[in-house]
Amino acid sequence: MTDSPSILVPLRVLEGESVPEGVPDLLATAHVVLLGYHVIPEQTATGQAQMQFEDRATERLDEYETMFEEAGATVERRLVFTHDGQKTIDRMTTEHDCLAALVPNATGPVEDVLVAVRGTVGVDRIARVVGGLFGETDASVTLYHVAESDETDEDVGTLLDGMVNRLEAQGLDASRIETRVERDQEAFDAIVDAADAFDVVVMGESDPSLATFVFGMPADQVADRFLGPVLVVQREPSEETE
């Protein structure tokens, strides 16, 4: 048995976002950090929204907490009123040392997991998430890598073998792990296309670059186009830039 990974589940609890079907089972072996948050315009004091909405939000969170607990997870919860949802999510990730955040979408029983492996950075955290959540299940795990043009087959082999070793150390049987490598494709489109055949996607949070400022985080975009749940593995807290 490996440590249960901390997974952040952010829900806009007052805007009708709820825990979709299949998500409690997906996170059955996790330590769930259940974040109910409500984004309010700047004209409104956060305490003002709290005064009016706290009871209703708490009621819903109670319900969700029970769902996760019944599935077997340990749950820690917070209700936050904020002007800036992203800041709240980032702070929660750091404060509760979450390995990944879940973009909650409905799913059936999980049989196939797609793990997008981008590079060596963060593989350890990805392995801990995959091992912690799917180690005890029968789900098959596919490691997916879109190679850059200057990457040789050996490079890719080393990267994916390293990942397989880490997963084995986490208790996954090698027979359940497949690898797939694509070339000559744009990474983002390739992942979205491949994801269709899977139940869950696990991917890293990409580094902010010019493109992400314009189009948003790739992980969010994948979540928008892939209709199942996406686990976004967060960067090491020390790598976070202030």
Binding site: Q43, A45, G47, Q48, M51, E54, T82, H83
Partner: protein, 476 residues
């Protein structure tokens, strides 16, 4: 700043049977924590705090007062602005200490109700709400003057003065925008303040160089105290409205990140920045025309100053800046007034209904209407100087009492009072701050003082009637 416990227990119920909302358990750099798992996120940084302070203040001092002040005090109006800045600084320092000890929404009202009890709190809180309405009305009338000047510039002659009509129109637009608008208003405010500072710095640099003779213009030689010494003080009382913004930073103290560091920096910083701008502006303006002619130009005197230096483009730039500045000041004041209504209603001094949040827009429509509505009546009077002085009066009462509250808290030294910033020069600075705040009131017009006293008296009666049983004072 480590987690800071909050240990104030409000008690009692008002006439409608509402009790004050429970106090939070702790305050951290990023949040205010209630019952362990409910948190209020802090999202305003130092830049945002400075923008609130400067944005609220700069509209009046530079774009409305120079002509009026010069007419009253002559060249010595420069000194009047410096006096105002000094008093503001003497109050901003103690306010910073109180704000770091109690970084909660409501600002001065919160400090005074917790430090000195509900009665003082009610007078200050209701006074703050009404004072901000007087201030907004003042900015809106100023805005009306600028908009009218635009018409004059375009050569459109109207058979009536459009000042009040435009003020009313913008008042309605602002209230509607704050209720229905979900745009990122804080970012817009930051940009507006940035633009204003750039335009003003350019304009004033040119003006100073011109005044000292670099461009051959030279100063109009003039006696400094051309109107005597007394008008310097009455003018200081009049223009003090230009310094009301720093306390608005404290009304959103509950939303400022790292409050221990950012609150003092934002409040003291914004006072220092605007004081420099004001003093230089008056110096440049009076040196361009002399106080006599400047006074004749009235509210939009700065447009004429800019025209004198830079011709039509200068006039247009200052017209635009004046519209932006008065608009942003009015907007900031309406938002602060709505925060004040919320703080009062949270403590059961106003009906809970008053801070209700609109389900469709997520904005506090009742509080915003309570702030925006009475402004119409005030704008309709069109009396710039009266509006400004009443606003100043009500704020000065609060400023003086904040200084007193600080002294009270320091002397009793309750366990929960642990400011991370401590005012230098205690007890001299808060004592002088209190005396100066109350003292400045004496130099106002009798009408302004009368209206101010009536507002305070009615506030007190309201407290006795509505919330006489409510105790808000901290355990001291």
């Amino acid at each position: 700043m480590a987690e800071q416990p909050v240990d104030v227990e409000p008690e009692g119920v008002n006439v409608a049977g509402e009790a004050p909302v429970e106090e939070p358990e702790a305050v951290t750099d990023d949040t205010t924590v209630h019952d362990d798992d409910v948190e209020l996120e802090r999202t305003i940084g130092l830049v945002g705090g400075l923008a609130i302070g400067i944005g609220t203040m700069i509209g009046a001092g530079i774009f409305v007062f120079p002509g009026l002040a010069a007419a009253n005090a002559g060249l010595a109006a420069t000194l009047s602005f410096a006096i105002g800045g000094l008093i503001a600084l003497l109050v901003a320092l103690p306010t910073s200490e109180l704000a770091t000890a109690m970084p909660r929404s409501g600002g001065g009202y919160y400090f005074i109700s917790r430090g000195m009890g509900t009665a003082y709190g009610a007078i200050v809180g209701l006074g703050l709400w009404l004072g901000l309405m007087f201030a907004s009305a003042f900015y809106l009338v100023g805005l009306g003057h600028y908009a009218s000047a635009v018409f004059a510039e375009l050569g459109v002659t109207l058979p009536f003065s459009p000042v009040i009509g435009i003020g009313l129109l913008f008042g309605a637009a602002l209230t509607a925008l704050s209720i229905g608008g979900t745009e990122n208003t804080a970012k817009i405010q930051n940009v507006v303040v940035g633009i204003l500072l750039v335009v003003l710095t350019g304009f004033l640099s040119y003006g100073v160089l011109d005044a000292v003779g670099v461009f051959g213009g030279g100063t109009v030689p003039e006696q400094f105290f051309s109107r005597g010494y007394f008008p310097v003080l009455t003018t200081a009382a009049l223009v003090f409205t230009s310094y009301l913004g720093f306390a608005q930073v404290a009304t959103v103290a509950g939303e400022i990140k790292q409050p221990g560091r950012n609150l003092p920096l934002a409040m003291v910083g914004s006072v220092l920045i605007v004081t420099v701008f004001y003093v230089v502006t008056i110096f440049v303006a009076t040196s361009a025309f002399g106080a006599e002619r400047l006074g004749q130009f009235g509210e939009t005197a700065m447009v004429e100053v800019a025209r004198d230096f830079l011709g039509l483009p200068g006039a247009v730039a200052i017209l635009g800046a004046g519209l932006l500045a008065t608009f942003s000041s009015a907007n900031a004041s309406i938002l602060s007034a709505s925060r004040a209504v919320y703080a009062l209603s949270r403590d059961a001094l106003l009906p809970r209904k008053a801070s209700e949040v609109n389900l469709r827009y997520g904005t506090p429509h009742v509080a915003l209407l309570a702030a925006g509505g009475p402004i119409f009546v005030l704008v309709a009077t069109g009396r710039v100087e009266l509006l400004a002085e009443v606003a100043s009066f009500l704020h000065l009462i609060m400023y003086g009492l904040m200084c007193v509250a600080l002294i009270v808290l320091r002397r009793r030294n309750p366990k929960w009072y642990a400011p991370s910033y401590r005012v230098p020069g205690y007890p001299v600075v808060p004592a002088v701050g209190a005396l100066a705040s109350f003292g400045l009131i004496a130099f106002m017009q009798p009408a302004s003082i009368a209206i101010g006293v009536v507002v305070m008296f009615v506030s007190y009666l309201w407290y006795r009637y509505y919330a006489g049983n409510v105790t808000l004072k901290g355990d001291i």
